[in-house]
Amino acid sequence: MKRLDKIFVVTLLAVLAAMAVLPIALNLRFIIFILTLTNIFAMLAVSWNLLSGYMGLLSLGHSFFFAGGGYAAAILSISYGVPPVAAVFLGALVITGLGSLIGLPSLKLRGHFFALVTLIIPIIAYQVTNAIPQLGGHDGIFGIPSLFQSAEAFYLASLAAMAGSVMVSYLVMRSRLGIIFTCIKDDEIAAKAAGIDVPRYKLLGLAISIFIAGVAGAFYAYLNGVISPATYELEKASLPLLMTLLGGRATILGPVVGAYIIEILIETLKIEVLVRARLLIYSALALLIFMIFPSGIVGFLRRKVYGDTAG
């Protein structure tokens, strides 16, 4: 490992440790809830980044995988008595299966078809969920048992899961899959000519991404104790996108950095007018990102530290 990389890893672990200890030691109850939520959205952003940042498959409907994971986990634990921690992973698996099945046909088509399909699916899911009483209909599913008794334990679990998702995306991109995914993003025709079974690897990338989004969604359902069709809404689909673009797409830490900045912004500016103007603020933010940080904050910093061409 290069010296710079070592310093980087040590710093990262120190930050993680501080994030684990400080809010609890200082007994910051309200902040702990917000940080838990932030970790959950960071996970969602990590998931989006893997598919759309690294593989170039633009997902405009990550809210479907997120909400789907939440619904599946809620139903598993309420109706089937699956213990919550197991339900998180089983729920994520269920939505991975369902999402992959729905995504499969569009993976064989050109890129923008996939984007189009992902844009429509949350809308359909919203209507379907609304119409099915077994899914709680318009009001959603209530009384989801808590994942952990204490808010502190929940926070630590969300931090661990978020760090885990970062680790997964790091390991994936460092492995042979990382090279294959990048080839697919850069040039599908050349990837096929190099021997890559493009639809198969796209499906694999999609599945990994959905699984992480599903875990995040399950955490979200347990955190709130309720999951409703509103979770499918456009805002949840655009959040991971904005967070990743701000932090730096196709970088390992970019989605997390972006998630923390945006969540803190949202929570500190929680004035009624601003809440109403959210979409406007998001759009302005998106424009700003494209103008000032086209490669995101992490991409920007990496160029400063490693020079212009570091991979």
Partner: protein
Amino acid sequence: MEILRVEQLIKRFGGIVAVDNVSFTLQKNEILGIIGPNGAGKTTLFSLISGTEKPDSGKIYLNGEDITNTKPYHRALKGLVRTFQIVRPFKSLTVEQNLHAPLTVRKIHFNQEEAIQLLKKLGLIQKRNIPAAYLTHGEMKKLEVARGLIAKPRILMLDEPFGGLTVAEIGEVTSVLREYYEEGGTLVIIEHRLRELMKLIQRALVMDQGKLIFEGAPADVAKSEAVIKAYLGTDTVI
């Protein structure tokens, strides 16, 4: 020994017949050249053989196996590898990682020393850790050749490997191709740089308006009435 057989391939694009009833065979450890004026259908023929385009009719056999309906990645894994006339590097991968890609999908161990040797021979070694996006056109063209060679294909089909290269660079490419040939490799090369090509190949095919109009020794190409007629009015000297 016959390694590739193409039978009566036809490919239409709307009104035009880009490849018109083309048949030929390729022997193992042979270097075949394909020439012809612009728009003759050479690249389309490569696309049909590599699976990037589907023929309207005709058959393709690799080692006796009918591969007409197989997918491009499948053909590549079987050792039928092509390069592109308009370069298609993996732009966000470094030069070295570009060579990694064809090996990693085959689960072949990446022999870094071998990759470095190949990059040295092609004058790309200084650019080894630079994303391919930052290469000059000539360097991308050479990377295209390197990426084709790295997995030791059974047949390597090169679409204008000399296009836009300097004489010195053509020398570099020619010598790595010769080496691959001497180790038992089989080559099909499309080129407009006829002087450099003719020195390398053992047999030539000439295409014009989708049709095969000549097949034979490189020395006989310029003697063919049909070929002379096809090149009439172009600025290529045969």
